[in-house]
C-alpha cells in the first residue's frame, strides 16, 4: 500500500531540473513560460527545482558545447534515480544549426541515453507539456521496473 502511495505521488509531483548546454535561450524561455499563469504547469505538480538532487526530470536545452559537456554530464549524473532525461528543442538532439562547429561536441545522445525528445525550434509550450507528460509516464515505468 505504501509503495502504491509513493508511486501515485511520484506521478503527480515530477520536479524538473533545467540544464542549458549552450542553448540560444529560446527553449529556456519557453520552458519558463510554462510557469506563467497561461500554462501554469504547477497545476500538474511540475516544479522547477533549484538543484539536480531534487529533480526527477532533467530538461536539457542547447547543443552540448565543449565547455558545458563535463558539467552537463556531471549534473545529469547527480540526479537521483529514477530519473528521465528530456531534450528540449532540436539542438540537444542533433546540434541543429550548430552542427560541425568547433565548439560543439554534441549531440547529447553520444553520452547519455535520451528518454524523451521534444522537437521544435523552439517547441510550443503545449508541446513541452506533452513531452513532460510523456516523461512522467516513463518515470512511472522506471519506478515499476525498479
Amino acid at each position: 500500500m505504501f509503495k502504491k502511495l509513493i508511486d501515485n505521488s511520484a506521478a503527480r509531483s515530477p520536479w524538473l531540473f533545467h540544464i542549458n548546454a549552450g542553448s540560444c535561450n529560446g527553449c529556456d524561455i519557453e520552458l519558463v513560460a510554462l510557469l506563467t499563469p497561461r500554462y501554469d504547469v504547477e497545476r500538474l505538480g511540475f516544479k522547477l527545482a533549484g538543484t539536480p538532487r531534487h529533480a526527477d526530470i532533467v530538461v536539457v536545452t542547447g547543443p552540448v558545447t565543449a565547455q558545458s559537456k563535463d558539467r552537463v554530464l556531471r549534473t545529469i549524473a547527480q540526479v537521483p534515480d529514477p530519473k528521465v532525461i528530456v531534450t528540449l528543442g532540436s539542438c540537444p538532439r542533433s546540434c541543429n544549426v550548430f552542427r560541425g562547429s568547433y565548439s560543439v561536441v554534441g549531440p547529447l545522445d553520444k553520452y547519455v541515453p535520451i528518454d524523451v525528445s521534444i522537437a521544435g525550434c523552439t517547441p510550443k509550450p503545449e508541446a513541452i507539456i506533452d513531452g513532460l507528460a510523456l516523461a512522467t509516464q516513463i518515470l512511472k515505468e522506471k519506478r515499476g521496473a525498479k
Binding site: 500554462y39 532540436s90 546540434c95 541543429n96 552542427r99 528518454d115 522537437a119 503545449e126 506533452d130
Partner: protein, 201 residues
C-alpha cells in the same frame, strides 16, 4: 504595496487565465510552422530543399530499382529549425509546414518525416536519345554565355529567378528556356544555382 494587494485579491476572485491544455486540445495559431508534411508525389527531386536547409535536416536517399530510381526524402524534425525555407523554395509546393506541434518522441525514428517516390526511367526519351546521341551533347559557348542542356533541365525556373540581369525567361508549361543575350552579363549565377547542373558555361 496597496495596488499589489488589490491586484492579488481581485486575482483571487477572478477566473484564472490558465489554458486547460492537456485536457482540452489547443490549435496552433495560423501561420505556425509545425511538423513538416511532405507530398512525395509532387516532388521533382530538384533538391532545393536540401540545399537551403540550415540545420541539415533533409537527406535524400535514392535506390535504383527496375522501374526507375526510388527516391526517399527524409526530414529529421530533431534537427529542424522550422524556418520554412524548404517550403518556400519548393516550386512544386511538395513541402508544407503544418500546424501540428505535437512533436514528442521517445525514439529518433518517431521524429522522422519521410516520403518516397519513384522516378521512372524516361523510356521514350531513351529511344530518342538512342536515335540522336550526338546532338544531345551540349557544348559550352565560346562567348561565355550560358547554354541549357535540355535533356537535364527540369524547368524549375530557379535560374530565371536568380538571374541578376533578368536575362532568362523560363516557362515550365511550354518547357522553354530562352536567353536574352543582350541582357546577359555572363555572371554564372544560373550555372551555380541550377540544381540539375543543366546550365553549362
Amino acid at each position: 504595496m496597496l495596488p499589489f494587494i488589490k491586484e492579488a485579491v481581485t486575482g483571487l476572485f477572478s477566473k484564472p487565465s490558465t489554458e486547460a491544455y492537456p485536457f482540452k486540445p489547443v490549435e496552433a495559431p495560423a501561420g505556425y510552422r509545425g511538423r513538416i508534411v511532405f507530398h512525395a508525389d509532387q516532388c521533382i527531386s530538384c533538391g532545393m530543399c536540401e540545399r537551403v536547409c540550415a540545420g541539415g535536416a533533409i537527406t535524400t536517399h535514392s535506390e535504383e530499382t527496375e522501374e526507375g530510381t526510388l527516391v526517399t526524402r527524409r526530414f529529421f524534425l530533431g534537427s529542424c529549425t522550422f524556418c520554412g525555407h524548404c517550403a518556400a523554395f519548393c516550386v512544386k509546393h511538395a513541402i508544407e509546414l503544418s500546424q501540428d506541434y505535437h512533436m514528442v518522441a521517445r525514439t529518433e525514428e518517431e521524429l522522422v518525416v519521410s516520403g518516397s517516390y519513384l522516378k521512372k526511367k524516361p523510356a521514350k526519351k531513351a529511344e530518342a536519345a538512342c536515335a540522336a546521341p550526338e546532338e544531345s551533347t551540349v557544348k559550352p559557348r565560346e562567348d561565355g554565355l550560358p547554354v541549357n542542356d535540355t535533356s537535364k533541365c527540369v524547368y524549375c525556373t530557379l535560374c530565371a529567378k536568380k538571374c541578376p540581369a533578368g536575362a532568362l525567361t523560363v516557362d515550365r508549361k511550354a518547357k522553354t528556356w530562352v536567353l536574352d543575350e543582350d541582357k546577359c552579363i555572363a555572371c554564372g549565377t544560373c550555372h551555380d544555382v541550377c540544381p540539375k547542373k543543366a546550365i553549362i558555361m
